[in-house]
């Protein structure tokens, strides 16, 4: 079953009410061809369970890793992903687009 924005934000709320650490990642800006539109959400809990998507699967792994830090320290972060480049650790979008993603903790 595909998840929708309604399910994603409801899930964020219910996970938090269950006492889990929860972060919400939101696509805030895109350039070029980006797989998911501005406003798309990904919800992550402290055990790396997640729901939704912010790309076609290209950067979710990196966003989840960052989300764990956000859950730990509570500081929101702005992440940027672009065309895959030489830097070994940088994750890229194979479609050639660039996206900015805001990650915040639910308190």
């Amino acid at each position: 079953m595909l998840t929708t924005d309604t399910d994603i934000l409801k899930t964020a709320e219910s996970w938090k009410r269950e006492g889990r650490g929860v972060a919400i990642a939101t696509v805030v800006e895109t350039w070029g061809s980006a797989p998911r539109p501005v406003g798309s959400h990904l919800v992550i809990d402290g055990d790396t369970n997640f729901l939704g998507s912010v790309s076609g699967g290209c950067v979710e792994g990196a966003v989840i890793t960052e989300a764990l830090d956000v859950i730990a320290d509570g500081k929101p972060r702005m992440l940027e992903f672009g065309v895959a480049d030489e830097t070994a650790w940088q994750v890229g979008l194979s479609c050639g687009g660039r996206i900015r993603i805001y990650v915040e903790r639910v308190d």
């Binding site: 709320e13 919400i24 939101t26 805030v28 800006e29 915040e104 639910v106």
Partner: protein, 230 residues
């Protein structure tokens, strides 16, 4: 985001009310602006425009950057006629995040056995459509072939702000429908809102194919501004 804010956002969505979550992307400061509170907000103009387009995005104001998460109510499809096409359409619509309500006064058709997991109202459209509050986030689809049932539904749809109205039937059937609606006082412009014959022309034959063509037309209307050949 505070849990209370997330909870309010979810409550607004469930109540089919538009709202915008404003986030300062540096400080993380947030507030929720509901549609009636729009005018008093410092970002009123941007918020109004964003709500109209239903598009989230960034805005700059006084050297600060804000992200506006625009939450329009979920799109709803009111299907008049608990017919075979509707049985195919309901599960497909759910996959598209469309909220379906089936209306048909014929109790033999409007049964839970035929429509598991869908809201089914065994009522006349003219009785029940006003209660459903057809708004600009609603599509109305008339599928019974029976003017006694379809016509009152179409009349209610044309008096509303709904973004899509479609009616099943051949061109000939539609000509007769146009005559009836004109006689009932609807203008040419009103009647021109009706998509008929309903659905994108994909040569649909089976009920499931017709459901695909109807849903495709609803999506095409909804995403009008993004279409390449608009």
């Amino acid at each position: 985001m505070r849990l209370s804010l997330l909870s309010q956002l979810n409550a607004e969505r469930a109540a089919r009310r538009a709202a915008v979550l404003v986030t300062d992307t540096v400080s993380g400061e947030q507030r929720l602006v509901r549609e009636p509170e729009l005018e008093g907000d410092v970002l009123a103009e941007e918020l109004r425009e964003r709500l109209r387009q239903g598009r989230s995005g960034l805005v700059e104001r006084d050297g600060r950057q804000f992200f506006l998460t625009v939450q329009a109510p979920p799109i709803r499809v009111v299907v008049v006629g608990a017919v075979h096409i509707s049985q195919a359409l309901a599960p497909m619509a759910r996959g598209l995040d469309l909220d379906v309500t089936i209306v048909d006064p014929r109790t033999a058709f409007a049964t839970l056995e035929r429509f598991p997991d869908v809201r089914v109202l065994a009522e006349w459209p003219d009785a029940v459509l006003p209660e459903l509050r057809i708004d600009r986030y609603t599509a109305v689809v008339a599928l019974t072939h029976d003017p006694k049932i379809d016509d009152p539904a179409l009349a209610a749809a044309l008096r509303s702000e709904c973004f899509y109205v479609g009616a099943l039937g051949s061109r000939k059937t539609h000509e007769r429908r146009v005559q009836r609606l004109s006689a009932a006082g609807f203008t040419e412009a009103d009647i021109g809102r009706i998509h008929a014959p309903i659905g994108l022309d994909i040569g649909a034959v089976s009920p499931a194919e017709i459901a695909v063509s109807i849903l495709a037309e609803i999506v095409a209307t909804l995403r009008q501004e993004r279409r390449r050949a608009a």
